[in-house]
C-alpha cells in the first residue's frame, strides 16, 4: 500500500475544488455520507450552467421551432440553430449541415443502420464491428438485417490491427468502431483505422460517446464517415445526442422516421423530403436539450482541457495502483492508450456485491456487463465492477475507493 499513499501526495496545478463547485449534486450525500461519484462513463453529472440554461430557456424563450412567425418561435428556432452550429464547431465539422440532432448515440447508430446500411444490404451483407463494442453498436446492425463480424481484441485490450486489415479487405458495408471502450478504456487509433478502411473503400462509423467528454475531437482530422455521441455523457442533458455525417452520405440517404418538419411537400400520392439535416429530424425535437448541450459544450471548452486530460490520467494511474495493491483484484484492459475507465474483478467477490458494499460508503460504481457482453465473454468473465472518472473527481475519492475495497476484502476475504 506504500505506492498508493505516495501517489496521493501533493499534486500541483489542477483545482478540482473549483470544478466541483460548478456541479451542485457533488455537494450532496448518498446513504447519509458524502457522495463519491465514480460512474461518469455511464452518465456525467451536470454543471449548474447547463441546468440554468435549460431553465432560463423554458422560462423566457420557449416555443416550438420552424412553425411560428411570432417572436418567441423565432427565438426558440434561433437557439436550436445556434446549438447546431456550436456542435459543428465543437467537433470541427466543416458545416452545421452535417450535424443531425438525435436522442443519443444509440439513436444515431439506429439511424445509420436504417438509412445507410439497410438500403445497401441486398441479399445480406456484413457490418464489421469489434469485440469491444457496446450493444448499441452491435444490435442496430443486426436489426437492420446485417451480419456482425467482430475485429478481435488482444489480451491487453487493444484492437488486433492485423486482423482488422484482413477483415476490411473482405469489404464489409461499414466498419462500426468505438473511439474509446466503455469497459477497457482503450482509446482506439481512429485516424489509422479510417485510413485502413478507406483503402478498401469501406466507410467508417465512430461511436464517440466515451471520447468527446475527455479529449478534443476533430471529425475532419479523423476522416471518418459518421461520428456519434450523447449529450448526457458530455455534462449535458439526457435525450439529446448528435450524429455527424459526411454531407454527401446524408444527401443520398432516405429519411429515418416520417413526420412533421422533415418534409418538402406532402401529397397523398407523392411526398418529397427536406434536405439534410432536417430530413432526419421528424417531429418536435428536444429543443431544450439542445440548449443544454450547447451550455455543456460552452462549459467544457471554457476549461483547460489539457489540464483536465492530465488530471484524468493521474486519477487513472492512481486507481490502477490501488487495484494493483489490492490482493485478488484484477483490472481488465491495460492498453497504453487508456482513458480513465477501469473495469475490474475481485477474487471471491461478485461485482454486484462489490458495488453494494461500496454503495454503503456513498461510492457509486457500476457493476454488470456494461452493455458489452461479448467483450466480457472474450475475457472469460460474466461481469465486472467499473470505476470511471471525470474532471470533478479527486484523489481523495480514490482513497475512499481503496478503503471500500479493503472492506470488500474483509467480508469476502
Amino acid at each position: 500500500m506504500v505506492t498508493v499513499s505516495s501517489l496521493t501526495g501533493a499534486r500541483a496545478g489542477f483545482d478540482t475544488a473549483r470544478i466541483r463547485a460548478d456541479f451542485p449534486i457533488l455537494a450532496g450525500t448518498s446513504r447519509g455520507v458524502p457522495l463519491v461519484y465514480l460512474d461518469s462513463a455511464a452518465s456525467a453529472q451536470k454543471p449548474a450552467v447547463v441546468i440554468d440554461a435549460m431553465s432560463r430557456f423554458y422560462r423566457a424563450d420557449y416555443a416550438n421551432i420552424h412553425r411560428g412567425v411570432y417572436d418567441l418561435s423565432e427565438r426558440s428556432t434561433r437557439a436550436w440553430d445556434e446549438a447546431r452550429a456550436r456542435v459543428a464547431r465543437f467537433i470541427g465539422a466543416p458545416s452545421p449541415e452535417g450535424v443531425v440532432f438525435v436522442r443519443g448515440t444509440t439513436e444515431a447508430i439506429n439511424l445509420v443502420a436504417s438509412s445507410f446500411v439497410r438500403p445497401r444490404l441486398g441479399d445480406g451483407g456484413t457490418v464489421l464491428v469489434t469485440e469491444m463494442e457496446h450493444h448499441g453498436n452491435i444490435v442496430p446492425w443486426q436489426l437492420a438485417g446485417a451480419r456482425t463480424v467482430p475485429v478481435p481484441v488482444t489480451d491487453s485490450g487493444e484492437l488486433d490491427l492485423a486482423a482488422a486489415g484482413r477483415l476490411l479487405a473482405t469489404r464489409p458495408l461499414l466498419f462500426a468502431v468505438t473511439h474509446v471502450s466503455n469497459v477497457l478504456g482503450t482509446i482506439n487509433p481512429i485516424a489509422e483505422l479510417c485510413e485502413m478502411a478507406h483503402r478498401h473503400g469501406v466507410p467508417v462509423l465512430v461511436d464517440g460517446a466515451q471520447a468527446v467528454p475527455h479529449q478534443p475531437v476533430t471529425v475532419g482530422e479523423l476522416e471518418c464517415d459518421f461520428y456519434c455521441f450523447s449529450g448526457h455523457k458530455l455534462f449535458g442533458p439526457t435525450g439529446i445526442g448528435v450524429l455527424w455525417s459526411r454531407e454527401d452520405h446524408l444527401a443520398a440517404m432516405p429519411p429515418y422516421q416520417g413526420g412533421g418538419d422533415m418534409i418538402d411537400e406532402v401529397r397523398f400520392d407523392r411526398t418529397t423530403f427536406a434536405p439534410p439535416p432536417r430530413r432526419f429530424e421528424a417531429g418536435t425535437p428536444d429543443i431544450a436539450g439542445a440548449v443544454g448541450l450547447r451550455a455543456a459544450i460552452d462549459w467544457l471548452e471554457a476549461q483547460d482541457r489539457a489540464a483536465i486530460h492530465r488530471h484524468e490520467a493521474e486519477l487513472r494511474d492512481h486507481a490502477m495502483a490501488v487495484l494493483a495493491a489490492t490482493p485478488g483484484a484484477r483490472a481488465i484492459g491495460s492498453a497504453p492508450e487508456k482513458a480513465a475507465v477501469i473495469a475490474f474483478t475481485m477474487e471471491r467477490a461478485h461485482p454486484h456485491d462489490i458495488a453494494s458494499l461500496l454503495d454503503a460508503d456513498g461510492i457509486c460504481v457500476r457493476a454488470g456487463h456494461h452493455c458489452a457482453q461479448p467483450l466480457h465473454r472474450r475475457f472469460g468473465v460474466e461481469a465486472t465492477a467499473r470505476a470511471s472518472f471525470a474532471a470533478y473527481n479527486t484523489h481523495a475519492e480514490i482513497d475512499a475507493l481503496a478503503a471500500g475495497l479493503a472492506k470488500v476484502r474483509k467480508v469476502f476475504g
Binding site: 454486484h352 453494494s356 456487463h369
Partner: protein, 141 residues
C-alpha cells in the same frame, strides 16, 4: 435502514462460499432456469418430487452474486422434505418479505434476507432462485 453488515451477515457469505445442494440431480422430475439480464447471472433449479407430492431432493447450479447464491443454497435446505404446496406458500412469504417488507415471524433462517428489502436493486438477486424453483414446479419434465 438495515446496514450492509446486516445484508452481508456471515451466514450469507458462508453459504456463498460453501453452497448446499450445489449439484446436478440424478433423477429430477422438475427443472427451470432463471436469468437476470441486468448482470447475466443465471441459476438452474432441479427438484425430485415423489408420488406423495413431497420434495424428495432439490439442487441448483449456475453463477451469481453472494446474495443469489446464498439465497439458492438456503432455499434448497428450507424446501427439502416440504410438499409442493408448502414450497409455493414459502415462496409467497419470502417474496412478500423482500418486496413489501412484510413481517414473516415463522420464516426461520431465511430471516437473514430481510435486509435485502432495503436495497431494491438487489431484491432480484435474492428472489431469482425462488422464481426458478416456482417455474420448475410448473414445469414437469
Amino acid at each position: 435502514m438495515a446496514s450492509l453488515a446486516e445484508l452481508y451477515q456471515s451466514v450469507i457469505v458462508e453459504h456463498d462460499r460453501n453452497p448446499r445442494n450445489f449439484r446436478v440431480l440424478e433423477a429430477a422430475s422438475h427443472r427451470a432456469e432463471g436469468r437476470n439480464p441486468l448482470c447475466g447471472d443465471e441459476v438452474a433449479v432441479e427438484l425430485r418430487v415423489d408420488d406423495a407430492g413431497r420434495i424428495a431432493d432439490i439442487g441448483f447450479q449456475g453463477r451469481g452474486c453472494a446474495i443469489s447464491r446464498a439465497s439458492a443454497s438456503m432455499m434448497t435446505t428450507a424446501l427439502k422434505g416440504k410438499t409442493v404446496a408448502e414450497a409455493r406458500e414459502l415462496f409467497d412469504r419470502f417474496h412478500s418479505m423482500l418486496t413489501a417488507g412484510a413481517e414473516q415471524p415463522d420464516i426461520g433462517k431465511l430471516e437473514v434476507f430481510r435486509g435485502v428489502a432495503q436495497y431494491p436493486m438487489r431484491v432480484k438477486c435474492a428472489t431469482l432462485p425462488w422464481h426458478a424453483m416456482k417455474d420448475a414446479l410448473a414445469n414437469e419434465k
